[in-house]
Symmetry: C2
Subunit: 303 residues, 2 copies
């Protein structure tokens, strides 16, 4: 096996395993031209997938909702994921699985039913999306004026690439000197940020938004850890002022884990990584990566 060529990552595209640098899709794939794709991301840490089954299960649920069928069983998808990580030789990786609508079998068709769906997967070196420094001090979070796309128009439980509203909010945050952003729905309730869930702690109770947000696997893990740690927690409405008057705020994503917030726009100072609830959850979160229940060793499978 030529490990050198996979050093920057390995991918599965068009039924073949290729170096990540060669992983490309046609400019005419509807996964691109109609953003007609669903995806999921799983973290490999120390040669172990974290909650692989949960991610693949959500990925399959997303495909089903969008009527995308890549023609592979759950096990076959998992084999592909193991294989891209094994090929890359990476101990710590960001592993993506993407299901695309593809292109129509009938020239000129504008019917999604006529397309050949397909799977893309890749493993690339893990990069902390939040710097080590910011993981200690905490990020600054701008509450965007830009409304999140409503759940009725685009189901937020289907992990998708339609980031236009999130990108608008990011620009808005950066224009105001903030590091990242969170969006509210049309009624003013907090939803999520670009790629992450939000958590608010007030008087020892943790709440995460019940609308406009992906049910994150990291979020799920945090809620489970709250139960173990005896932290009162719920999924419920979070208003803009709940966020501004919180004792602690933090965010989570599979691509970054649990990350503290030190400042919310028009809110008071926050403890960042010094928050009591944050500290106990972060510690428990990274410990959970070693649990057999949550982690799956990467296998050097032959695909």
């Amino acid at each position: 096996m030529d490990t050198e060529k996979f050093r920057n990552g390995a991918a599965y595209v068009g039924g073949k395993f290729v170096p990540f640098s060669e992983a490309a899709i046609s400019v005419a794939d509807w996964g691109f031209t109609r953003s007609d794709a669903v995806y999921d991301v799983v973290h490999v840490d120390d040669y172990r997938f974290f909650r692989l089954k949960d991610h693949v299960e959500r990925f399959e649920a997303s495909m089903k909702k969008r009527r995308i069928d890549v023609g592979l069983s759950t096990q076959e998808i998992e084999v592909v994921l193991h294989r891209v990580v094994a090929l890359s030789g990476l101990s710590s990786a960001y592993v993506a699985m993407v299901a695309l609508r593809g292109r129509p079998r009938v020239v000129g068709s504008r019917r999604p039913e006529d397309c050949t769906n397909h799977l893309v997967a890749y493993a690339v070196p893990w990069v902390d999306v939040i710097s080590k420094e910011m993981q200690e001090t905490g990020a600054t979070l701008w509450i965007s004026e830009h409304p999140r796309v409503p759940d009725a128009s685009v189901d937020p439980a289907v992990k998708n690439y339609q980031w236009s509203d999130l990108t608008s909010a990011l620009f808005e945050a950066h224009d105001h000197g903030y590091e990242t952003a969170v969006l509210c729905d049309a009624e003013g309730f907090v939803t999520e940020g670009p790629g992450f869930n939000v958590f608010v702690v007030k008087e020892g109770r943790l709440v995460t938004p019940d609308r406009g947000a992906l049910p994150g696997i990291t979020r799920k893990t945090i809620l489970e850890l709250c139960a173990e740690l005896g932290v009162p927690h719920s999924i419920g409405p979070v208003s803009r002022s709940d966020l501004q008057s919180a004792d602690e705020v933090f965010i989570s994503s599979s691509a970054g884990g649990v990350m503290p917030v030190r400042q919310v726009s028009d809110g008071g100072a926050l403890p960042g990584s010094g928050g009591t609830v944050f500290r106990s959850i972060r510690e428990a979160y990274w410990s959970a990566h070693k649990r057999p229940l949550f982690s799956t060793p990467v296998e050097a499978v032959q695909a």
Copy 2:
């Protein structure tokens, strides 16, 4: 020049001219993974671009709104478009220009400001998206229950690939045995369909929706032709019942021209291509393609 290899179309990707079959983007391009891209499509008919300046102008306005800068002047973009058509040798082509966010120059950055934006363009053989037969009988149009993404969340004037709501509506239409769909906003007003604008004629007056819709170049042409033909016309609110009780309904897109509708869900029978206003507009529309004001001959420019 090896014309054979460009027979199925020619493309411009990564600063190079390549056969369309080789036109691909990285699976990590944010144009894909965040659908952070804008595009436009222009029709070449009989070796002439139709309203090229209008399309490039709208494309540049879309880029500006999304803060995408591909580093090319208007003239340079036009040279690329002429070149892909000339390379393809096609007399009748669908010509796309796409501006993508690209990938971050800083590894691990999640800031769109850190990305190198780039242009993709291609010319492929023109295909009637509506069959000749349906262009006579007219299409059936399902009024979707799926709400269009609000203008406040995603600006519909920026031509984009975020088609999830449009795709949902298409599936819904097909499930009900209809050929295509139109979406309403949360207040129940008609917006647009997947890739087209809608027109309603009642008692000789033409109206096209004032919300949730791309200001189409074909729509603009139709409104200008209405003025010439003496057809009273306006851009205004169109309710679901306006659509259902219309005398004539038709749709328009740059990729298909003006196309009649023969049936709207829960509406009465419509004349399809037999409608008086439709017939005069369709004739005027295709005649307009020959006007020097609207058309630009494809030049065999060297890029």
